[in-house]
């Protein structure tokens, strides 16, 4: 992926996170906890489980529709990061080839099932992570992390990272464009040039940090970065969490999907 498209992607996701929908208004702590529980439940499924994963697609679908997140955007990003998981998983059908079921005359191997399981889990977990940030602004996530016990120093510098992420990406883009305008083919993109460019970027970064520090001092900074508490957990938030937990428990420990299938079979016998 080119720098420009990466920058555009992260910018788009960032902008989406500041929209105002029911999902966006939920407390960040609740959303983080719900996402973690969801992820945990999904990966706790056994290696060959495929069918029971189906109901879990409700979670991303609800977030996408209620949160008004473009579905194709999420799908594209999921596809983008799939190579590693696919690469590892693709060996499963090859190495675990014992037939375990025959479906409409087609033999299905155990390895194929585990591969399918990996793929489904992958789509669910990756979309859940993306949708977390798409529906919760990054400062919101940081606030949640702090309240959930992450060290204050870690969160403080994480917020600075976020604040200057786009600024630095723009600086990097300028540096790249300047380089591209003066290189022909691959000349100019060698490692030596790269080292110089990064060095220049580093100098600017350190100088900027100095100026930021002066600006902080000028407004009375004395060592602690003050944050005003802004989020409150409401009954709606708790209801959302409760419903999520109930859903996760039901669909993890009871074979609902199969049950539905059997009922359908009975109906059509």
């Amino acid at each position: 992926m080119t720098f420009d498209s990466l920058y555009y992607d992260i910018g788009r996701l960032d902008r989406l996170s500041y929209r105002d929908t029911f999902v966006h208004r939920l407390d960040p702590r609740i959303k983080v906890i719900a996402a973690i529980l969801f992820l945990f439940t999904v990966i706790s499924f056994p290696k060959y489980e495929v069918v029971a994963l189906a109901p879990f697609f409700l979670f991303p679908v609800l977030l996408i529709t209620i949160g008004e997140i473009p579905a194709l955007f999420i799908l594209r990003k999921v596809l983008l990061v799939s190579p590693f998981a696919v690469l590892i998983g693709i060996f499963n059908p090859l190495l675990d080839a014992g037939t375990v079921a025959v479906i409409s005359g087609v033999p299905v191997s155990a390895g194929f099932l585990s591969f399918l399981s990996i793929l489904l889990k992958f789509i669910l977990t990756v979309s859940a992570a993306l949708l977390l940030i798409a529906t919760t602004s990054f400062p919101g996530v940081c606030h949640a992390l702090r309240r959930l016990g992450f060290p204050a120093i870690f969160v403080a510098q994480l917020l600075f990272l976020y604040r200057y992420l786009f600024v630095l990406m723009e600086e990097a883009m300028r540096v790249i464009r300047a380089r591209d305008m003066r290189s022909f083919g691959t000349r100019g993109t060698e490692m030596k040039v790269f080292a110089r460019l990064i060095g220049t970027l580093l100098f600017r970064t350190v100088d900027r940090a100095e100026r930021i520090y002066h600006a902080m001092l000028s407004r009375g900074f004395m060592g602690d970065i003050p944050i005003l508490r802004k989020y409150h957990i409401t009954t709606i938030d708790l209801a959302y969490l409760a419903m999520t937990i109930v859903f996760l428990v039901i669909f993890r420990f009871f074979r609902v999907t199969e049950g539905i299938g059997r009922i359908a079979q009975e109906l059509f016998r």
Binding site: Y18, R211, I212, A215, L217, G220, F221, M222, L228
Partner: protein
């Protein structure tokens, strides 16, 4: 009414790499004055502004703000009185949201939550930026960033306002709004800028710097119409004054 007098007495400053940025600077600014600081690039304008609140300390000479002599110990107290708006708003807006940035100063002053919210509200309304409250700074335009950076300083209710190139990178409308805003402030104002038209509009007094020295200090109306003085210092007449002449030339 307290005496917020700014006094630079024989101030010199040398950067660690040896550059002598200020040489024997002497001036006195009284309460409520609006002073423009002009000069070529490298004349020492930014360095001067940074001495206003102790970001830089003079290598020799003294800076007095009100009753306080600028030392490492008094810096903190002085920073309550002098609000500095830096050249690059991206450096000044370092918090995740606009609200956090404007609240930073008051929170550091030890105010309680209600008063902080009041101050933030006031400061943002002054710069017409209330609707920007929950946005992250990187979603703002240059003009909006400038407005918010001013608000973040105003929220501390300083007695003295020092600004380094406030109109840089602003589109004409934002610049117009800035000028209008500055004219409503009754604080002592020190504004370093290349925008001579803005200085003419906002500041009744003008200090000219060259190679770290004060070469002229007087009424803006006199200095900014003195073409020879300006050109000697690598400047020129404010554009508003020039167009008049251009029109005269072409008629």
């Amino acid at each position: 009414m307290s005496h917020h007098i700014i006094e630079f007495r024989n101030v010199s400053f040398r950067y660690p790499d040896g550059t002598e940025a200020l040489r024997n600077i002497d001036f006195r600014i009284t309460h409520g004055e609006s002073v423009g600081v002009i000069g070529a690039n490298g004349a020492g304008k930014s360095t001067l502004i940074q001495h206003m609140n102790g970001c830089l300390m003079p290598t020799s000479g003294s800076v007095t703000i009100g009753d306080l002599l600028l030392t490492r110990k008094t810096r903190r107290e002085i920073r309550r009185k002098v609000g500095v708006v830096f050249q690059n708003p991206d450096d000044q807006l370092f918090m995740p949201t606009v609200f956090d940035d404007v609240a930073f100063g008051p929170l550091n002053l030890g105010m309680d939550e209600t008063r902080v919210r009041e101050r933030v509200h006031e400061a943002l309304s002054t710069v017409h930026g209330l609707d920007l409250c929950d946005k992250p700074p990187h979603h703002l335009s240059a003009g909006q960033k400038r407005a918010v950076s001013i608000a973040s300083v105003m929220a501390m209710e300083p007695d003295i306002l020092a600004m380094d190139e406030p109109a840089a990178n602003l589109d004409p409308r934002s610049r117009r709004l800035l000028i209008a805003l500055l004219k409503t402030f009754s604080h002592s104002k020190i504004i370093a800028s290349h925008d001579l038209d803005m200085i003419l509009d906002v500041c009744e007094r003008c200090i000219v710097l060259r190679d770290g020295r004060v070469v002229a200090d007087g009424r803006s109306a006199e200095i900014l119409t003195d073409e020879r003085l300006l050109e000697e210092n690598s400047l020129e007449l404010p554009l508003t004054l020039q167009t008049r002449r251009w029109r005269e030339d072409t008629e």
